[in-house]
């Protein structure tokens, strides 16, 4: 592999790796699957060699690819062993956060994506619509419904 591409892979991993991994883990609930998605996203980056005007575009592209890969993974994977509390503790997550995460995982998939991109990554409705490839009204509805369900789980107002 050329040195340039090699350096690019390292850069993408160092800058965006955790972000992509977190979203994938949040959606897939499985460490290995999330790592597979991350690896596949990097490979797609290598193969497509996209050119971006800004870092924001670059990140959005990577999240979009990872999101689509997660959707495919959920649709096609035959074994889908979800992480349990013990697994989360092994990952260094606290009991409280782990317990909370397992509850939040019960949200419907499409709400989770919108919730994650908005409340964790800080994307706007328009940006989320672009990443997920859906309409703005769909994003708003998913955020609204996801927030309602999340509120029940977390018992606080966002």
């Amino acid at each position: 592999m050329g040195t340039e591409i090699n350096d690019e892979v390292i850069r993408i991993m160092r800058v965006y790796g955790n972000s992509l991994y977190r979203m994938s883990f949040f959606l897939l609930r499985n460490e290995q699957d999330a790592q597979d998605v991350l690896q596949e996203t990097l490979i797609k980056y290598i193969q497509k060699a996209p050119v971006f005007d800004t870092a924001d575009y670059e990140k959005a592209w990577l999240l979009r690819v990872a999101n689509n890969l997660c959707k495919d993974m959920l649709r096609f994977q035959k074994k889908n062993r979800h992480a349990n509390i013990e697994d989360l503790l092994d990952m260094g997550i606290t009991q409280e956060d782990g317990s909370l995460l397992t509850q939040v995982w019960s949200l419907p998939e499409k709400y989770k994506r919108a919730i994650y991109l908005h409340y964790y990554e800080g994307y706007s409705v328009l940006e989320i619509a672009d990443i997920l490839g859906i309409t703005e009204s769909a994003v708003k509805k998913r955020l609204e419904r996801g927030r309602d369900k999340l509120r029940e789980i977390l018992k606080e107002e966002m």
């Binding site: 390292i10 990097l42 074994k79 409340y119 309409t135 999340l150 606080e156």
Partner: protein
């Protein structure tokens, strides 16, 4: 709240070791068929890495002899090899003993010849289910696909045996690739249910919303009545948020010379798709016969037949696939109305109504019990439990 959510997500971290491992894996990949790599996930990743670890990366593309060799596998063998990959969970990288350095070096050389299509094993390595079958005694190299152990003799492996190991992994990878291609193709032609929110982004842009629901309804109509939907006249009514308190639903009304009725679709959050929530069918100008002429035995026989039928209808027509754990019926001798309530293992209840008339089912509806409070509820003590048909 936002902070709490963020803190929770922040706790998820990819270790530097895992980062480096993934970077290294990407650096070894020169060509990957993305779909098969992805769909088989960790297992395929392990296979790819295990196979490629000791060799320079070689593209899977076009060695005609190699391709022909793979294509010589029957469809049944490909399917079987695909399925056994998923029997195990640990990644197909275990040997009963480590390969020696000399064996590793020979394996790497043999692998190149294998991929160039110039050398294949004389026979395939036998594989077996280690939990239900005994290890083959007539060979010294075999693969337990449930426990994912490749059994090797203690002595130095022959070239043929090393080729069989290579062959096992290569055929597994090929089978994953082929079957996953089929899955992708099948999914592409069988669109998953979509919500109206996604309508604008659906790949089926050629269909209008009305055309799409008409297709669904016509298919259901044929299943429900056994008749050709093309012979019916259809009217589709779409109810939006304003009319139904925030939920969107479709009503497909049909009419033929003999029948009229409607099929109502609502969006099911759990199924993340559209399911039939209500179905009505009325026989036009049906002559009400007096079921009073039926003997008690005949009534019970009809009830029994309907109860048996309804469990299949719930699954086959209405798409409710949850296991039914309880069935109850209540027949009103005055109203001639038979109610059947089915309870699934998830606790959902579905009620169906049958009006006895002219020896035909005149009307039946199915919907979650909780949504129709205006109907008579089967009260405890009045309902008769019946056995669920398999």
């Amino acid at each position: 709240m936002e902070n709490r959510f963020k803190n929770m997500i922040d706790a998820v971290q990819l270790s530097e070791q895992d980062q480096n491992r993934i970077i290294a894996a990407c650096q070894k990949e020169r060509h990957v068929d993305n779909k098969w790599f992805l769909y088989s996930g960790r297992i395929a990743a392990a296979i790819v890495i295990a196979v490629m670890a000791t060799t320079s990366v070689t593209a899977y593309a076009a060695v005609s002899a190699y391709q022909a060799y793979m294509e010589s596998m029957s469809r049944e063998e490909v399917q079987e090899r695909y399925e056994i990959v998923y029997e195990g969970t640990r990644g197909w990288t275990l040997y009963s003993r480590s390969l020696t350095e000399e064996e590793e070096n020979r394996k790497a050389e043999l692998q190149e010849e294998y991929r160039e299509g110039t050398l294949f094993p004389q026979q395939s390595m036998p594989y077996f289910n280690g939990e239900t079958e005994a290890k083959p005694k007539d060979v010294e190299v075999s693969f337990d696909y449930v426990n994912e152990i490749c059994y090797l003799p203690e002595r130095e492996l022959t070239d043929e045996e090393l080729l069989q190991i290579i062959d096992l992994y290569e055929k597994a990878n090929y089978s994953l690739q082929e079957i996953n291609k089929e899955i992708v193709t099948e999914q592409a032609t069988t669109p998953a249910p979509v919500s109206p929110e996604d309508w604008g982004m659906s790949e089926n842009q050629a269909l209008t919303e009305e055309e799409w629901i008409t297709q669904l309804a016509e298919s259901a109509y044929t299943q429900l009545t056994g008749e050709d939907a093309a012979l019916a006249e259809w009217e589709i009514n779409i109810r939006g948020d304003a009319e139904s308190g925030g939920e969107r639903w479709y009503l497909a009304q049909f009419g033929t010379e003999d029948l009229s009725g409607s099929i109502c679709y609502e969006y099911d959050e759990e199924a993340d798709g559209w399911v039939i929530k209500r179905y009505n069918r009325t026989v036009k100008e049906a002559t009400d016969i007096s079921v009073d002429t039926y003997s008690e035995e005949e009534i019970q026989q009809k009830i029994s037949t309907i109860c048996e039928d309804v469990t299949h209808k719930l699954r086959d027509v209405f798409g409710i696939t949850d296991k039914i754990v309880k069935g109850e019926h209540d027949y009103g001798y005055h109203s001639k109305l038979l109610q059947v309530v089915l309870t699934t293992e998830t606790g959902d209840r579905y009620r169906l109504y049958y009006f006895f008339s002219n020896e035909q089912i005149r009307d039946y509806s199915i919907y979650p019990v909780e949504t129709r409070a205006d109907f008579v509820i089967i009260e405890e003590g009045y309902a008769t439990e019946f056995d669920i048909a398999e």
